[in-house]
């Protein structure tokens, strides 16, 4: 048996689903960030696998830019989390919901 493209895509899909379940289920902002990282990593696996099996470098390029975007997202997001924690003393989304419609 040879590991093909679909193997990698299935693993990537499973990891992406784990991340999506985390985004839907968690109520803590830090945990939401973790779940986002999981989803970004799943997409990176898919890009690298497609790049390998189609013998094309474009997938790897996109993976690099995703990593750069994830790094800057974490930098800004953690700054915002620290400000929120200073202001409210909690990172729970239910505590932070101040705009009641």
């Amino acid at each position: 048996m040879i590991i093909g493209l679909s193997h990698y895509l299935i693993v990537s899909a499973i990891i992406f689903s784990i991340g999506l379940v985390g985004v839907l289920r968690r109520r803590n902002l830090l945990m939401l960030f973790f779940a986002t990282e999981v989803m970004l990593n799943a997409v990176n696996i898919a890009f690298a696998a497609i790049s390998h099996y189609y013998n094309d470098l474009t997938g790897q390029m996109f993976a690099f830019f995703i990593i750069a975007i994830a790094a800057s997202e974490v930098a800004v997001g953690l700054g915002i989390l620290i400000v929120l924690y200073k202001k409210y003393g909690s990172l729970d989304l239910d505590d932070l919901a101040t705009m009641r419609g």
Binding site: S17, L30, M61, A68, S72
Partner: protein
């Protein structure tokens, strides 16, 4: 044979570790599982022949992003378990799985078409890092520079957001600081 064993080992471990990340109640456990899962994902990249991407994954994700999370963890109370009220988690699991499946099918559909041609094909006998460098600095130079600018903006905004009121303690009581100050003044 070696590739098959490595692939299944990496996938089982990665899925398990990321499940811990998503389902754990303790922030420290979640962060540790995330870090080790990212190391294993770089193993996937090495398996796929994307050496440079694997190294970047190790340096940027495991080195920088997780270290940043660890630093931010000092501001939050990491030892306390997170209490969340979950409303009907079985429904959330079902909806999450179904919507992920729909997304994956949506994005995977064009892959199975036949007329995909390599835009920037890999060269035989050239290392992956060299190949990536040539394409990155010729075809993707403008996005590369824009990404550098974006990282600069993110760095400045991170410093600005986190650096305000750094002299105030978050976790300890303010009165403790006042006591220290009064003791100093009396001396």
């Amino acid at each position: 044979m070696y590739e098959i064993v490595a692939f299944y080992l990496f996938s089982a471990l990665t899925i398990g570790l990321f499940s811990i990340t998503v389902l754990s109640k303790n922030v420290l456990y979640a962060m540790t599982a995330l870090a080790s899962g990212m190391v294993l994902i770089s193993g996937f990249f090495f398996l796929l022949g994307a050496d440079f991407l694997g190294v970047v994954q190790l340096i940027v994700y495991v080195g920088a992003v997780i270290a940043l999370y660890a630093f931010a963890m000092m501001f939050f109370d990491a030892t306390r378990d997170i209490k969340e009220k979950n409303t009907n988690s079985a429904l959330v699991f079902f909806l999450g799985g179904m919507s992920a499946l729909v997304l994956v099918l949506m994005f995977a559909a064009p892959i199975f078409s036949e007329n995909i041609q390599a835009l920037y094909p890999m060269h035989e006998g050239v290392g992956n890092a060299q190949d990536v460098g040539i394409v990155l600095f010729t075809k993707y130079l403008v996005p590369f520079e824009v990404a550098a600018l974006m990282l600069l903006v993110a760095m400045i905004s991170g410093i600005m957001l986190a650096g305000k009121k750094m002299d105030q303690s978050l976790t300890e009581d303010v009165s403790a600081d006042d006591e220290i100050m009064t003791v100093k003044d009396e001396k």
